[in-house]
């Protein structure tokens, strides 16, 4: 069966993940956690990629840098792609490196024509370096930046047009950014080029400890919120079934608890598949 809904793999869930017999289940990891010469980490990724479809979701290529992607990092990513043959490879519309300093984060930038050209060049380099197309993910945003020349949805559409990349739409990020910056998340989703969407992410967020709900944080430490499920159904009704991932990186519950959210996403996908086939 083709991949339907998946879960971000945590090493502590490996045994339960391998035991599961659920149809359509797939897994995603951050390749940066598996860029090792050998040992248990390498064995985990081999076991998972032999058992299930695997997606590599990078956080380190810094696509929105005014500099080329780090060739060493790109080579290490290529080695994982060659060894594990992931069905999806994705990265973020963000930057995390400047010269020799890395910020383990996904930092924003002004969506100018210059940035568009630079990021398109970087995506080209990555796709050439990997020998395949990647998906690019919309970020969570926390500050208003003056000087945007492009809406984010149009910016993503133009990257797709120029580079042939696909999109990974993180619906929680859409909710968080729209809430923090004050725009309509449904309008945002409706402006996306839905044929380019190759993956969807769902995750939990939290209120900022100081500013409360006025500042939502993409914390991945809680169950997916109902407004995010509503956005998800809205998006999937437009796109049809798209591989969907449950992301959880903190306050990690038992595997079975994540599977409840995963099964809910799978049922949304199944319902829209029936509609498409009807």
């Amino acid at each position: 069966m083709a991949p339907t809904a998946g879960i971000g793999l945590k090493p502590e869930h490996l045994d339960a993940a391998l035991r599961s017999s659920v149809d359509g289940l797939w897994f995603e990891v951050h390749p940066e956690n598996y860029m090792v010469a050998g040992g248990r980490r390498a064995a985990i990724l081999t076991a998972i990629s032999e058992a299930r479809p695997l997606s590599l979701h990078g956080v380190g290529l810094s696509l929105a840098s005014a500099a080329d992607p780090d060739p060493t990092h790109l080579r290490r990513l290529r080695a994982l792609v060659d060894r594990h043959a992931p069905f999806l490879v994705s990265e973020h519309l963000a930057w995390s490196r400047i010269a020799d300093t890395c910020f383990p984060d996904l930092l924003p930038f002004p969506r100018t024509g210059q940035a568009l050209q630079r990021i398109a060049d970087n995506i080209d380099q990555v796709q050439q370096g990997l020998g395949r197309a990647i998906l690019v993910e919309n970020p969570s945003l926390y500050v208003a930046i003056d000087g945007h020349a492009w809406d984010e949805a149009d910016f993503l559409s133009e990257l797709v047009r120029r580079t042939g990349c696909g999109l990974l739409i993180d619906v929680n990020n859409v909710h968080v950014s729209a809430s923090n910056l004050g725009y309509d998340p449904f309008d945002y989703l409706d402006a996306l080029p839905c044929g380019a969407i190759g993956e969807v992410h769902l995750a939990g967020h939290s209120d900022d400890p100081v500013h409360g709900a006025a500042l939502l944080i993409d914390s991945h430490d809680a169950p997916i919120a109902e407004p995010v499920w509503a956005l998800y159904s809205h998006l999937i009704a437009r796109t049809g079934p798209v591989p969907t991932l449950i992301e959880r990186d903190d306050n990690i519950p038992a595997f079975a608890e994540l599977m409840v959210e995963r099964d809910r996403a799978a049922s949304v996908l199944a319902a829209v598949r029936e509609t498409v086939n009807a």
Partner: protein, 247 residues
């Protein structure tokens, strides 16, 4: 037009803290961009130096880790590798006055991580007695690390791997540690000063016979067969041509 390189540079400066002013850094949400990389770096240090976390307690560890993380930003997105200077940082910190073994314990945590991610290769499995014809081809396995420490850090490290741990008062003496990965499980053990002579010689490229000779020259009473058997049992040796770089 807002130049991307200049924007990145100013944004990075604002995260690091040298320019607090401006329309961006004054927004409440900017704190997220200050906190997230710092938390990620502290989390990585906590994962990479678990015994220091145990020794100091998580609150004190996080305080020390945040000082380190602000001074030594990651240079790679691969955070398994983060914290290479942490032991030296601890050695020169005020903590070293009260806890003079702390940096050496951190060095053992670092060896653990290096062994955890080291390359796979078939370990030498022969009986010690059957090896003489292969002796010149025997080298250290990639998942073998050893270190001489000027403190009883190996005893302290070993005592803090289980919770609750018993109070110990080790004699203040230097110790040697050997970290290996037999059957995929990491083994940390105290070894003799004689063992370190042998391991240093092998690590420096000496053949096994030459390394054994160096050991017995330095420590004429050393038990070479026992050392050799232990190295085989720990998967610490392999044949030179058994290792194919697959990084």
């Amino acid at each position: 037009m807002l130049d991307l390189a200049r924007f990145q540079s100013e944004f990075a400066d604002a995260i690091i803290g040298s320019s607090m002013s401006g329309a961006l850094a004054s927004q409440p949400g900017f704190a997220v961009y200050r906190n997230t990389p710092l938390k990620a770096a502290i989390d990585a240090l906590t994962a990479n130096y678990p015994t220091i976390d145990t020794l100091l307690g998580n609150k004190a560890f996080s305080a020390v880790a945040s000082i380190y993380a602000l001074q030594f930003r990651p240079v790679s997105p691969v955070l398994n590798d983060y914290g290479a200077e942490f032991a030296d940082f601890l050695a020169s910190s005020p903590l070293a006055d009260d806890l003079p073994y702390l940096a050496d314990v951190a060095r053992i945590d670092r060896l653990w991580t290096e062994v955890f991610v080291a390359a796979d290769a078939p370990a030498l499995m022969l009986d010690a007695a059957a090896v003489s014809s292969l002796a010149d081809r025997i080298v250290l396995h990639p998942a073998s690390r050893h270190l001489w420490l000027d403190s009883p850090a190996a005893t302290i490290w070993l005592a803090h791997q289980q919770s609750p741990f018993e109070a110990i008062e080790p004699a203040w003496t230097g110790e040697a540690v050997h970290v290996t990965r037999p059957e995929g499980t990491i083994a940390v053990e105290k070894v003799s000063a004689a063992d370190i002579v042998l391991l240093d010689a092998l690590a420096g490229g000496a053949t096994l016979p030459d390394a054994a000779a160096a050991m017995l020259t330095a420590f004429p009473d050393a038990d070479l067969p026992a050392t050799f058997t232990r190295l085989l049992n720990r998967g610490a040796l392999m044949l030179a041509d058994a290792f194919k770089e697959n990084r």
